[in-house]
């Protein structure tokens, strides 16, 4: 009986035949083609540049939403105030992967005290306003329960507020010093001063870190509405999208897909679970050559017969 033919050694040097192949010329042609395509696409479509939202533009366009966010930052009930690490220590706020709590493990490395950073400290910088100084002193001297009651009442009354020349007019209620504090904060925001105060906090001249103002913006409905208009929300597969009608980040399709399906869609741990899942899938993608079943899949799919059809025509005839 003749011995079974041995499996081919794909690592062995190719015994032939060969053809001339000019790699450097190929690279130069590719460079010309790709540069040319990039130039043509730029001439046709340019690139998007939607101007950023500022706290000033927010406070002017939607003062009610600005004040709603500001009073929850003061009261410690905002999204950032209750976020947990890396901004603060809030019990049961972290996302977990089963029993694993990586968010807590990393710790509070970017501390944010929302009441101090977003309301008290910027207001303290406003000079020559004795009424504001007195309101701040009264607020800080009050017991926490009273502070909460004032801010809570203010937040509840805001939907009924009207604005006259930038000044909020609320129905009668027990807001204590919170009312003049919020009015002053709105004035500061509408003047553009709050943008500057949040970026150049701690009296620093040079600054490239937008943590404070951007997290403040992200707590507001105005910012989110603008994103919704551009189809950028998570529920709108926003991770893949670009502002305007430009193509976006198509390669993120699988990442955003999981946010649309259960069990992730309604899970409080969606971000952590999906990050971990994509980590596992990415590892599997890297390790395809070593995974039985996956590594032999191309052989069964037989697309290679089309790619190497000239070779097979020659060898099998």
């Amino acid at each position: 009986m003749s011995p079974a033919p041995s499996a081919p050694d794909d690592s062995a040097p190719w015994p032939g035949p060969f053809v001339r192949y000019d790699l450097v010329k190929e690279l130069v042609v590719a460079l010309v083609v790709m540069a040319g395509l990039a130039v043509i696409l730029t001439i046709l479509f340019s690139s998007p540049d939607d101007s950023p939202t500022t706290i000033q533009s927010w406070a002017k366009a939607d003062p009610g939403d600005f004040l709603t966010t500001a009073v929850t930052e003061l009261n410690g009930t905002s999204e950032i105030a209750e976020y947990g690490p890396p901004y603060n220590n809030t019990p049961d706020a972290t996302q977990k992967i089963g029993p694993i709590d990586l968010q807590s493990w990393a710790g509070v490395k970017i501390p944010i005290d929302t009441a101090q950073n977003y309301v008290i400290e910027p207001l303290q910088e406003i000079p020559a306003d004795p009424r504001l100084k007195a309101a701040l002193a009264a607020y800080q001297a009050a017991p926490p329960k009273l502070q909460e009651a004032w801010a809570g009442a203010y937040e509840e009354a805001l939907p009924e507020a009207s604005f006259v020349r930038g000044v909020p007019i609320l129905p009668a209620g027990h807001y204590g010093p919170v009312a003049p504090m919020m009015a002053a904060l709105l004035g500061l925001a509408q003047s553009g001063g709050l943008d500057g105060a949040l970026v150049a906090g701690d009296h620093r001249f040079y600054q490239t870190n937008y943590t404070k103002p951007l997290l403040f913006l992200s707590g507001g409905g105005y910012f989110e509405e603008r994103a919704e208009g551009q189809h950028l929300l998570g529920t709108q597969w926003g991770m893949m999208n670009e502002t305007g009608s430009y193509p976006g980040q198509v390669w993120l399709w699988l990442y955003t897909f999981w946010y649309q399906v259960e069990p992730f869609k309604e899970s409080p741990n969606a971000d952590a679970l999906i990050f971990a899942l994509m980590g596992v899938l990415s590892l599997a993608f890297i390790c395809i050559p070593f995974i039985p079943g996956l590594r032999t899949l191309p052989r069964h799919l037989r697309v290679y017969r089309a790619i190497w059809r000239d070779h097979y025509r020659e060898v099998e005839s």
Binding site: V19, L27, A38, D49, Y210, L217, A276, P298
Partner: protein
Amino acid sequence: MSEGEGRSVSPEERQMWTTWVRERAVGALPPEKLLPDRQPAYVSSWIYVFGVATIAALVVVIASGVILGLKGPEWWHVTAIGRFFNGIHLWAVELFFFAMVVHLWGKFFMGAWRGGRGRTWVTGAIVFLVAIGAAFTGYLSQQNFDSQWIASEGKDGLNSVGIGSFFNVVDFGQMYTFHVILLPLAVVALVVWHVLLVRRHGVVPPYPAKAPMPAAPSPPPQATPSEGGAP
């Protein structure tokens, strides 16, 4: 004979680190392997150009990025020529991912990891993922509404697994530094490694062909040959 060319290496020289590195490098990739002027005949499909197309797009991305960097991150917002180069940078990134995905599909269907080429696939897959990170930091560096929104959303995913404590997507300074120096270095280093592996191992050969059909057995010779053929 010029210095170092074809001469034998003495035992003392062989102990030198320089000699060791040179001999390993030249042994793995002699010049005709590093820059070959021929390829196996089966390298005859347009699918093979998408690797070099990806590299070409990357060169355009880096070149346009260097020009954007020369004038700083504000420039493209305030001048038309800056906006033009920003466009080149954006579209070159789209072309880069386009070519890379077509290249990846081709290499998958060819089973291009066969014959000890696993590391070539691994480095390529890692480049893909690192490039996604580089693009992410690029979107964060735009200093417009898109970058604000991507930062405010991206922070949640990274914070949930603790990475946000060390990699702060709302910190423009950090993101810009990652984007213009750290991640391009990583991408280029991985691409160089990837290409050197392709040169080292050669382009993967085709899957084995089907055995040629055996020839039909010839009929036995006729005892009385008659003109005119078959009965």
